[in-house]
């Protein structure tokens, strides 16, 4: 048998096997037992809620510090203005 004929014979013989293998790979597999949830929701809810409250709390602290600093500046400026007025 020449090599070309041999190759054609092998391909023809393997083709149905390859097709059935593909079909097997595409079949849905039945799950036995409890189905595991791949993406648990708890951490997502926790992160979302935590982020919101940390962001709000952080913002409150940021603004409160800003107010304290600017009020300190205002008090300093008032003192400077008073002393400048007295001279």
């Amino acid at each position: 048998m020449n090599p070309a004929k041999l190759a054609a014979f092998v391909v023809t013989a393997l083709a149905p096997l390859a097709l059935s293998a593909t079909a097997f790979a595409q079949e849905f597999e039945k799950v036995t037992g409890k189905v595991a949830d791949e993406v648990p929701a708890g951490p997502f809810v926790g992160i979302a809620y935590g982020f919101i409250w940390i962001a709000i709390l952080g913002y409150v602290l940021f603004v409160a510090r800003g107010i304290a600093r600017v009020r300190g500046d205002v008090a300093d400026l008032r003192r400077k203005l008073d002393s400048a007025g007295k001279r």
């Binding site: 809810v45 979302a48 919101i52 409250w53 709000i56 913002y59 409150v60 107010i67 400026l77 400048a84």
Partner: protein, 227 residues
């Protein structure tokens, strides 16, 4: 705290109590059959989105008062609410994708609601940057940006009804299960109170800054007059 007034103190106490109380209400609300536990994000994602809209409208209203009437208080309100818009926008853009990862399988989809929300957030960031680094014309430039942000709000809200999107539609809240409503509306009320407290705080900061700059100018004038 005393200087901020009794109403402010009462609101802060209510918010602190709500902060402890609302998570229990959300956890005891019934589970949504399709999405399950991740649907709990809805109870604070939607109030945050509403506060984003409210902040944007307040920013635009203050900006209009500043642009057309020269109102300094309007400018303070605009500055305060613009910053709150960025804060609540960040909360929306973090909590939403966390929901999406579980509900849709991906953190982000370039659909109409998500993209227009991101655009609104970026306009508000632009507002803050223009205000801070825009030089002498920064206030007016940012006020004009606030008007564009306000125009984007109805687009964000109606986007889910106009275009096909993966995001839940605007009918979700009116059609909410009666057993889910107490947790949702309590959370909504709490977020509104928190928004009011933050606005009052930030407004006071802006007022104090204005007082400081007025005093600095007075000192400068005084020194110039003497020399």
């Amino acid at each position: 705290m005393r200087a901020l007034g009794a109403g402010f103190v009462a609101a802060t106490v209510v918010a602190a109590v709500g902060f402890l109380f609302v998570p229990g209400m959300i956890l005891s609300a019934p589970l949504e059959p399709v999405m399950g536990f991740v649907q709990k994000i809805f109870y604070f994602h939607v109030p945050c989105a509403t506060m984003l809209f409210l902040s944007t409208f307040a920013c635009a209203a203050g900006s209009i008062a500043y642009l057309f009437k020269g109102s300094e208080r309007g400018d303070w309100i605009a500055a305060a609410s613009g910053e709150l818009g960025v804060l609540f926008g960040a909360c929306v853009l973090v909590s939403g994708p966390l929901w999406g990862r579980k509900a849709w399988g991906v953190y982000w989809q370039w659909d109409a609601r998500l993209t227009s929300s991101l655009l609104l957030f970026l306009i508000l960031i632009g507002y803050m940057l223009a205000r801070r680094y825009g030089g002498p014309a920064g206030k007016k430039l940012s006020a004009a940006l606030a008007l564009f942000a306000a125009v984007d709000v109805p687009l964000v809200y109606k986007s889910v009804d106009i275009w096909r999107t993966v995001h839940p539609q605007t009918t979700v809240v009116p059609k909410l299960d009666p057993k889910m409503r107490p947790a949702f509306w309590t959370s909504f009320l709490l977020m509104t109170i928190v928004w009011g407290i933050l606005l009052a705080l930030r407004y006071r900061l802006e007022a104090a800054r204005s007082e400081a700059s007025t005093l600095a100018l007075e000192i400068e004038d005084h020194l110039e007059a003497r020399s």
